[in-house]
Amino acid sequence: MHTRWLMPGILLCVFVLSLIIHRFELLDSYLQLIVMYIGINIILTLSLNLINGYMGEFSVGHAGFMAVGAYIASFLTVKVIPAHLAAWLFPVAVIAGGMGAALVGLVVALPSFKTRGDYLAIVTLAFVMIVKSVIENIDALGGPRGFLGMEKLATLPWVFFWVILSLWIIRNLVYSNFGRGVLSIREDEVAGDLMSVNTRQVKVLAFTVSSFFAGIAGALFAHLLQFINPRSFDIIKSTDILIMVYLGGIGSIAGSILGATVYTVLLEILRPLGIWRMVLIPLILVLLMLFRPKGIMGLREFPWFVPLRDRLAGRLPRNKRGSS
């Protein structure tokens, strides 16, 4: 029984620690920033992994969902919510950003009914461009100049909270009936359909959840950087997230965490190399794809992320199963 409370216990301790660090500024602010970037990248990587890794589709639309979340949340905290309430209502703004992105995600789910693979990649690429030019043409959002005035509301405890929430929700989805439907689409969509999986329902759910968390990450990103412009959410941003997914490993929660962490830290460590950084990192990727094409953790999972029932499923002796 005690193992059941081990994980929540550890998480609670870390959360309290993050509160203390934030309150008393125990960590160098640069390091804090890096840790928060890692957190935001974990959310982005995991949510894209749901589509590209678990479902086996190829979406490059995550920068677009991120933009929607970032702009909605920023507009709310700067223009709608009174300044003295901004800190209190920040979660509401973040959730609104996520909801907005999820709604847009629903729209992107529709072409995925008809097309997949390279074709879906082109559809989502177009989507990123549309979001960018729509924002560039809305004056209330600052147009191409960008949008600023956000307070630094994304703090260590908040980022930690959202990382844990997204990990938990996406893990729950993966280890459910709908999650098995997601996997069946990756393995053989027609066979999945013929085994009673409602593939449309599964796609809508996966895209909605995935874009919701991309929107959350966008909202946090905006309130960490305190400045956003349409160029922050172009195809390069999507590519970054793709790299983290394929570096860490497709179809793996542990891989998403690893990919986001390694990539973010690597970018920072190699900063002194200047322009050579952008030579070295692609080189690392090429080598990775040659020797481990599914990523570091590809299709494997760290046992802690697997619910107990699924972990033990086949290992219980036949006669003990009835009593469990």
Partner: protein
Amino acid sequence: MPVLETHHLTHHFGGLAAVSDFNLAIEPHELVGVIGPNGAGKTTVFNLITGVYRATDGSISFADTEIVGKTPSEITSLGIARTFQNIRLFRELTVLDNVRVAHYAQVRYNAIEALLHLGRFQTEEKSILEHSLDLLASLKLESYTDELSKNLPYGLQRRLEIARALATRPQLLLLDEPAAGMNPQEVGQLMEFIQWIRQEFKLTILLIEHQMHLVMGICERLLVLDFGETIAEGKPREIQNNPRVLEVYLGETQ
């Protein structure tokens, strides 16, 4: 009253009539075979019944419901399950998950309960797991539960495909060349196995097969297709002596 009934079922690929005027009525618990040379339209009939293709013309009724125009997952939920000519397992999933996937339509929890692992989720998942393990045990696959399905030997992959189809709790099972690639001894075992699942799971079975030994041995009735047309129908003994069937299989006699 027939479980499955097709009327004037017709399907064209461009100008080619893959199936034309196909009429079939299967009574409950019957075991019917469809034979015919390669390209005769047998698998197309399966694809029409299961909704992979939408029939150009004609109707298919299953348990008094018209199913032309329904999606494959809807048709499967009504009680028709199938296997594939070329094995189409979920290769990177475990044996257990292959079977659990097929419970999709039976689950009675919604997306919110799934995302939070709350409400009906725990009890439903427990019963899916138990049903899956029971099914694997009764098909003697229980020692492979955690194995990736791609790692199973060929014969067991075929059996797992049947297990997966049975997990959808079908009334009607469509088997597409279940004996493909098997030696005579394995075919003998398969014949017993098919008879056994028919009894055990109270199934009506429609199967496509090239191995005459199997077809003649277990089918109660046969349909012979050639170039999309039904050229003969009857008991195996009648079919064996039917001149048109002999012509199709052995070539024209002088």
